[in-house]
């Protein structure tokens, strides 16, 4: 009974940051981002930072802690997606080349611009424009696909698709040509390299992990089925996250205890998010992703105009709703599968 009166056990001392944090809050953030990241195939750093801020986590440690936790979480999700056959390692490795050079150039570009003057606002507005473009693309794709379906048009074995830019890009046959077995297409190796290079530059320039840009690029430009795009992107997030964790730790910007606490929640969340993709339709994932991107965009606009609390509330509200939506898909799908299994004897 003593335990219920004294709530000190709910708080944990962070030895490096020197603050005491409500640890169930860290587990909850980890869990939510694990669910969403496993379902959408992204790191989700933009979701973690406001949550950490509200818990009273020092912002100097937020980014490094965030990246290290994302690397560990993506590892758990990649392992699960890999068993489903959702990770095209060959494509992931080819894209890593473009991504790492792209992020390096993007980071150098932003440092150069910073030397010239304040670029914070410019970066935020570029980010907003790209998020607007991505969400427009996702919803336009859905609208087009629904219209085509109504008219009975189909695009081969994948069924009806809205945006099929990848088909045009696959016609470019500059050697070496590569076949990606899991993703199920053959294209010039330059296509994934150039796409990942460009998304890498943008990620480096915007100071984000890049999952938010890479996931739609994998679908619309490279031609991955949605599930393969999610798994392959998580593989990339894992690799770049581990390196990011190393460099941020060298700068002293990490709180290892918080990483482990968040990772524990994220491991459970990642299972739910990843298994939910088994029961979700590709377009369901795309639409939910579009909504998440749209909310991210609105939150940045709110922050830009000084409504920081409203921005954090919007992000946390979006996380909660999307999390509930994904958990519903997972539990309903799993219950259905178990019922069918039982009926078969």
């Amino acid at each position: 009974m003593e335990m219920f009166g004294d709530s000190s056990w709910l708080y944990m001392y962070m030895p490096i940051a020197g603050v005491t944090i409500f640890w169930p809050g860290l587990v909850l953030i980890g869990f939510s981002v694990g669910v969403i990241g496993g379902f959408f195939g992204m790191g989700g750093a933009w979701m973690v930072t406001p949550g950490l801020n509200i818990l009273g986590f020092p912002m100097a440690f937020a980014i490094g802690t965030d990246i290290a936790h994302i690397a560990g979480k993506s590892m758990v999700s990649t392992m699960r997606h890999s068993k489903f056959g959702n990770v095209d390692y060959k494509l992931g490795i080819v894209m890593i080349i473009g991504t790492m050079f792209g992020i390096e150039i993007g980071a150098q570009l932003i440092m150069y611009l910073e030397r010239l003057g304040t670029v914070g606002t410019v970066v935020r507005w570029v980010y907003v424009v790209f998020l607007a473009l991505i969400s427009f693309m996702v919803f336009y794709d859905y609208y087009k696909a629904v219209n085509k379906k109504k008219h009975g048009e189909a695009d081969g074995e994948r069924g009806t698709e809205g945006i099929t830019w990848y088909k045009t890009l696959h016609k470019i046959r500059i050697p070496p040509m590569m076949h990606f077995e899991k993703a199920g297409f053959t294209c010039s190796a330059w296509l994934p390299i150039i796409v990942s290079f460009v998304t890498g530059i943008l990620a480096g320039f915007l100071g984000i992990g890049g999952g938010l840009l890479r996931m739609p690029a994998l679908i619309y430009l490279i031609g991955c089925p949605t599930h393969i795009a999610v798994g392959t992107d998580l593989f990339e997030v894992m690799i770049s996250g581990l390196y990011g964790a190393f460099t941020y730790t060298l700068k002293g910007r990490i709180e290892l205890v918080a990483v482990f606490v968040m990772l524990t929640g994220a491991a459970i969340g990642a299972q739910i998010g990843t298994v939910a993709t088994k029961y979700a339709k590709g377009y369901g994932i795309r639409i939910a992703f579009g909504i998440a991107v749209l909310c991210c965009m609105v939150s940045i606009i709110l922050k830009e105009y000084g409504f920081a609390m409203m921005s954090a509330a919007l992000i946390l509200g979006t996380i909660s709703l999307i999390c509930i939506y994904i958990m519903k898909i997972m539990f309903v799908g799993a219950a259905q599968e178990l019922r069918e299994k039982k009926a078969r004897g």
């Binding site: 790492m100 069924g159 482990f260 491991a267």
Partner: protein, 98 residues
């Protein structure tokens, strides 16, 4: 699993050749110098890591990455063990776009 670890190790080595791949955010905090307060720590493990943070940041960074990766693998394997007991088929799925 072994394939994943092998690829992970190979790519980490490759990435280590390229400096500053990490995200561009957070440069402004570079100017800060943070020192962990070891006077208030009683736990020997915490004390070791806080001390390492203050004295040898490179070794601390290596520990941070290795421990994060190991904990990630441990959690992945543990969750795999638990999920395998739910009765769900976690080895295959159908790709349905609509």
């Amino acid at each position: 699993m072994r394939k994943l670890l092998k690829i992970g190790a190979m790519l980490s080595g490759l990435l280590a050749l390229i400096p500053q791949l990490a995200l561009a955010a957070g440069e402004k905090a570079d100017e800060l110098i943070v020192v962990a307060d070891t006077r208030v720590l009683n736990n020997s493990v915490m004390l070791y890591f806080a001390d390492l943070y203050n004295t040898n940041i490179l070794l601390f960074a290596i520990w941070a990455v290795v421990l994060t990766a190991l904990y990630g693998v441990f959690l992945g394997v543990t969750m795999d063990f638990i999920m395998a007991r739910t009765g769900l088929d976690l080895s295959k799925r159908k790709i349905v776009e609509h």
